[in-house]
């Protein structure tokens, strides 16, 4: 009956209750949507980076970490690969030769990272082959094919089938030159990546180096980010003589970006909750001040102060809960919608490509994010109701009864 009283009290002033419910719902919806936007951005950056070149984890020799020399190869790399292949979560493994060098056209040159790959294996690990915008991904039948980024092609003034000279230091310290012909031009979300990475077949590099099979880098792709630790940690333990790093360690800037986003998100939500706190306090204070006489009567006839306190709390929590649920439902609708159609950000293409972001932003928010936020709304409601409730129970019944 006490709960019935509290519930009916909420609806005594329908307009006011609906305004505060709407405020809570809109506030929460905006908070969740903003979070989903930021999370979607981060998710997109992570996936793009993993998909483009990082994979879920990579293996190098420990020396390679320092100077990235071609001579710092992974010992017994085939054995390492066969061990990793045993995991059921592995969807692709690519062994790479990594060389820092120069790419030159007739007119100019650019510093690049030359990546020697087996195209068939690389396709299982990265998605560059899907991002070829001109030509093809190593399907031509001529030797010394190269696939370069659009930005590099623009910088060097090259196009499909143009000749490009790669120069780099060999294992003995001598400078090696190699002429390659452009088979394909790719364009990823990152202009920086496109400008500084070229892909060639590992066999062609080995011929130039006059060496046997070797590997500087093993990239592993798994079924999902979530299972990464279950594969990566045992491998790291097993091959303690090698450098085994996951995507987070390989791209610390992503971690930094994530931390920054999370901080922004928390500040944003904090501001929303702070505004809500005042909204709720104001509404409940008005509600209490309008009912001073009624509280006086309730306490005069024998209603304990604790029950009056509980009643006001229940009214506030109910209001906030309704607003909270409405907000979550609204947010879910918006997040689902923009999660499937995306938000068009093509106006900011240039800036976004610096951050490895596409021109469509797909909102997403893990389900685990919702319950804490609803809980925070309820905590805000309790905090907001505290002052009005204290004010109500501090009323002197004999004076309150005579308030008109």
């Amino acid at each position: 009956m006490l709960l019935t009283l509290a519930w009916r009290n909420i609806w005594r002033n329908k307009k006011r209750s609906l305004i505060i419910i709407t405020a809570i719902a809109v506030g929460l919806c905006c908070g969740l949507f903003a979070s989903a936007t930021m999370f979607g951005m981060w998710d997109s950056m992570i996936n793009t980076t993993i998909d483009r070149d990082l994979g879920h984890f990579q293996i190098h020799s420990k020396d390679f970490e320092d100077e990235k020399l071609i001579s710092d190869t992974i010992p017994n790399f085939e054995n390492v690969i066969s061990t990793i292949k045993k995991s059921k979560y592995v969807t692709g493994i690519s062994s790479r030769i990594m060389i820092e060098g120069m790419a030159s056209s007739a007119s100019t040159s650019n510093g690049v990272r030359i990546i020697g790959i087996n195209p068939a294996n690389e396709k299982n690990v990265t998605s560059i082959y899907k991002q070829v915008v001109d030509g093809s991904y190593f399907t031509e039948d001529f030797k010394n094919q190269i696939v370069i980024g659009e930005k590099l092609a623009d910088n060097l003034g090259l196009h499909i089938k143009s000749k490009i000279i790669l120069s780099f230091q060999g294992t003995d310290g001598s400078i090696i030159y190699g002429a390659f012909r452009i088979a394909g031009i790719f364009k990823t979300e990152s202009s920086v990546f496109d400008k500084s990475n070229v892909f060639v077949k590992e066999n062609d590099l080995q011929n130039l180096l006059n060496s046997n099979m070797f590997s500087n880098e093993i990239v592993v792709r798994l079924t999902s980010v979530q299972v990464a630790d279950s594969v990566y940690i045992p491998i790291k333990n097993q091959f303690s003589n090698l450098s085994v790093k996951n995507w987070g360690e390989l791209a610390p800037e992503l971690k930094l970006f994530n931390d920054m986003l999370m901080t922004q998100m928390n500040i944003f939500l904090g501001i929303i909750l702070f505004a809500l706190l005042f909204g709720i306090t104001n509404t409940m204070l008005m509600s209490v001040m309008e009912r001073v006489r009624e509280f006086g009567v309730l306490m005069a006839v024998g209603m304990k102060r604790s029950r009056v306190f509980f009643m006001i709390m229940f009214e506030t929590i109910s209001l906030s809960f309704i607003g909270g649920i409405a907000g979550v439902i609204l947010a879910l609708i918006f997040i689902q919608y923009f999660g499937s159609v995306g938000i068009n950000l093509s106006a900011f293409t240039e800036g976004l490509s610096q951050w490895s972001l596409g021109t469509r932003l797909y909102t997403s928010l893990p389900f685990s994010f919702y319950p804490p936020l609803v809980l925070m709304i309820l905590v805000t409601a309790v905090l907001g109701a505290f002052y009005p409730a204290i004010k109500a129970i501090k009323l002197n019944p004999s004076n309150a009864i005579r308030t008109y």
């Binding site: 009283l5 005594r12 009624e294 306490m299 005069a300 006839v301 024998g302 209603m303 304990k304």
Partner: protein, 235 residues
């Protein structure tokens, strides 16, 4: 032992600034079954005295013993509990809970007393029937006239089975027909159930019906007499 006993009770407001003695050294005894009216001009201390008897306020000096319990030293929370179990209130402005029906209003105090639902419902219907509102049990206060609301307030006061009923100007907002009807009802309850009623009023209609009239003047009891008119009626 008297049902209500006030021994040299004073209530002083604003003690530190300009002290106002709202009730000044009052001695009063009210026995079970009395139908007593506290009268006096505005500012004479009627409401303060009623508040003190009802445990809504505490005396600055003196003792108030109700039902054999000295409530003058009770803390506010203990007073709330005391009021719940010993006193029925009828207010000038009815003061029903607007979102409850008549029946729920009557049931509410019994709920606070932790009386079972079936008992609450039984008693609520019984008392609403006694005040002549059996057919309005599901009406909200807004759907009832002033007189009907005050009848619900009386039913609410009685349903908790208090030791006595305190009524602060119960007829002040009622027309003469409703006031007469309410007084008949309360007098009837007093006769039939020996329920003690203590009123504060300056309504002559109520004063006429009181068995005992306590007159206050400047916070002091000026006169305390049995109502001659009532004595004639009784005889």
């Amino acid at each position: 032992m008297a049902l209500i006993e006030l021994n040299q009770v004073s209530k002083i407001y604003d003690e530190t600034i300009v002290p106002i003695k709202a009730v000044d050294n009052v001695d009063l005894k009210i026995e079970k079954g009395e139908f007593t009216s506290i009268v006096g001009p505005s500012g004479s201390g009627k409401t303060t005295l009623l508040n003190l008897i009802g445990g809504l306020d505490q005396p600055t000096e003196g003792k108030i013993i109700v039902d054999g319990i000295d409530i003058s030293t009770y803390k506010p929370d203990a007073l709330i509990n005391f009021r719940l179990h010993h006193i029925g209130f009828v207010f000038q402005a009815y003061n029903l809970i607007p979102v409850f029906t008549a029946k729920e209003n009557v049931e509410f105090i019994m709920l606070l007393q932790n009386i079972t639902r079936s008992e609450r419902e039984k008693r609520a219907i019984e008392f609403l029937e006694a005040v002549g509102l059996k057919d309005r049990i599901n009406s909200t206060p807004a759907e009832l006239s002033g007189g009907q609301q005050q009848r619900v307030a009386v039913a609410r006061a009685l349903a908790s089975q208090p030791s006595f009923v305190l009524a602060d100007e119960p007829t002040a907002n009622l027309d003469s027909v409703s006031a007469e009807s309410l007084l008949n009802l309360m007098e009837d309850l007093n006769h039939k159930h020996n329920m003690t009623f203590v009123f504060s009023t300056h309504d002559q209609r109520v004063i006429k019906r009181a068995h005992r009239i306590v007159t206050l003047q400047d916070g002091k009891i000026n006169k305390d007499e049995m109502n001659p008119a009532h004595a004639i009626i009784d005889s």
